[in-house]
């Protein structure tokens, strides 16, 4: 955890909680004490480099795998003891393809899938199929990555789950399909007030949808905050500084990331803007501008700052 950034999200009735989750694959540590909190009704973006534990986390929430220690709750139910109930409440778009059903025609695959869900809404499924231009007669095996993604989205949404777990949902989709998917998700959220936990490498694509972000690194959270808190508290300070300037001692714990050289340098700092600006001035810097960061910039600053440590 970067000491500067608080990560104890306040949530009265969270949809997802994990506490101190640990998971090893043989000797490979996938999760290293993950404390995730996803508030009810949030659109939570999980970002981080490959292997930081995003997919593993989703699989634990679905009880497709079990953690080595720690615990998880989905709507106050432990996936380990209430796996079926938890899965019924979740719409899941997995990262890869669905093994086992490769030989099925898409239409049959959807019918088969729908039989597991009493709440399956065929009219809604049909409208999604039309909207996403899915050909029901094709074999699932023959679909491109983007095409299978669309089918998986129908499978995830049409039973109206209160929680969506989307693992790289935009992967392989062309720009128009991405835009459609965004629109479908917005409609879905408007209609159902569902909670969404999505992982992505393309933060900008989901930026306007997200209201929370967690940054994962090596199986742990570096930061976990509401969009508003990130916007208010994490800012880029463009500074003009003396040759031998070495920062403000009072801010040493608050600096998330720094770049550029003297005399002009840009520091990303977490804290109250007025206080930070005062400290910088006192330390001899001239503050040229203070700008908030987009989610993508914030994630990059947090991850790059980790490397600077």
């Amino acid at each position: 955890m970067i000491s500067a950034i608080p990560s104890d999200l306040e949530a009265g009735n969270p949809a997802i909680v994990t506490r101190d989750l640990m998971k090893f694959y043989k000797k490979n540590r996938a999760l290293n004490g993950l404390d995730l909190t996803v508030p009810d009704g949030a659109v939570y973006l999980m970002v981080g480099p490959n292997g930081s534990g995003k997919t593993t986390t989703m699989k634990i929430l679905l009880d497709l795998i079990r953690p080595d220690s720690g615990h998880a709750e989905v709507f106050s139910i432990s996936p380990a003891t209430g796996g079926a109930r938890v899965r019924a409440a979740i719409g899941y778009v997995p990262e890869g393809r669905i093994p086992g059903y490769e030989w099925m025609q898409v239409g049959l695959l959807l019918r088969h899938h729908s039989s597991y869900y009493p709440s399956w809404d065929s009219d809604y499924a049909d409208s999604l199929i039309k909207n996403l231009e899915i050909d029901l007669t094709r074999k699932f095996r023959k679909l491109s990555k983007g095409e299978s993604r669309r089918v998986q989205l129908v499978m995830a949404l049409a039973h109206f789950p209160p929680l969506l777990l989307l693992d790289e949902p935009m992967d392989g989709l062309d720009p128009l399909a991405r835009d459609r998917v965004i629109e479908i998700l917005i409609d879905y959220i408007s209609e159902t007030s569902a909670t969404v936990l999505a992982s992505t490498h393309h933060i900008a694509e989901l930026d306007k949808l997200a209201d929370h972000m967690g940054v994962l690194f090596e199986g742990k959270l570096l930061a976990q905050n509401s969009r508003e808190e990130i916007h208010t508290s994490l800012k880029k300070y463009l500074l003009q500084v003396p040759e031998d300037w070495d920062g403000s001692p009072d801010l040493s714990n608050a600096v998330v990331h720094r770049k550029g050289t003297r005399p002009e340098t840009s520091w990303e700092i977490w804290g109250d803007e007025t206080y930070v600006t005062e400290q910088l001035k006192t330390a001899g810097a001239m503050v040229r501008s203070v700008v908030p960061l987009r989610l993508e910039e914030a994630a990059v600053a947090i991850l790059a700052g980790k490397e600077q440590e």
Binding site: I186, I189, S190, D207, K208, A210, D211, L238
Partner: protein
């Protein structure tokens, strides 16, 4: 009637503030007037490709400020008593603040900016085309 709201992802303001400011702008330029209907939360969220909760938040704040009202089952409307002049003042302050920030980033004092704005304005009045070309170079 529908209003055109513009949201800029690279803007430094939070999206819900941008929506609020865009509605103020629509009031000032009179594309929205007293009792005009606003798009539904779902519609505006889908149009702008943003989280419906963000639209909800903007509408809630505007309602708190008394700029809009919600009629259950019918939709959201601009208040009958809305005063575009007051909103104009708010917008002017926002524009001024942005300009001052930009000036400071470029190492300019407020006085220098103000006199430059006056100069530029009188030049624009004389030869609008040439000045706009010159300014963009």
């Amino acid at each position: 009637m529908s209003v055109l709201l513009h949201i800029d992802p690279s803007d430094t303001r939070p999206i819900y503030i941008q929506i609020m400011d865009e509605i103020r702008r629509a009031l000032v330029v009179k594309t929205l007037g007293p009792d005009s209907p606003l798009p539904s939360v779902r519609q505006l969220a889908a149009d702008l490709r943003i989280n419906p909760n963000t639209v909800q938040q903007a509408y809630r704040e505007l309602e708190r400020e008394g700029l809009i009202y919600v009629q259950r089952g019918r939709g959201t409307f601009v208040s009958a008593s809305v005063k575009p002049e007051g909103e104009k003042e708010t917008l002017t302050m926002i524009v001024a603040k942005n300009a001052l920030r930009e000036a400071h980033r470029h190492g300019l004092e407020a006085d220098e900016l103000i006199s430059a704005i006056k100069d530029m304005n009188s030049q624009l009045k004389k030869a609008p085309d040439e000045v706009s070309k010159g300014a963009s170079e």
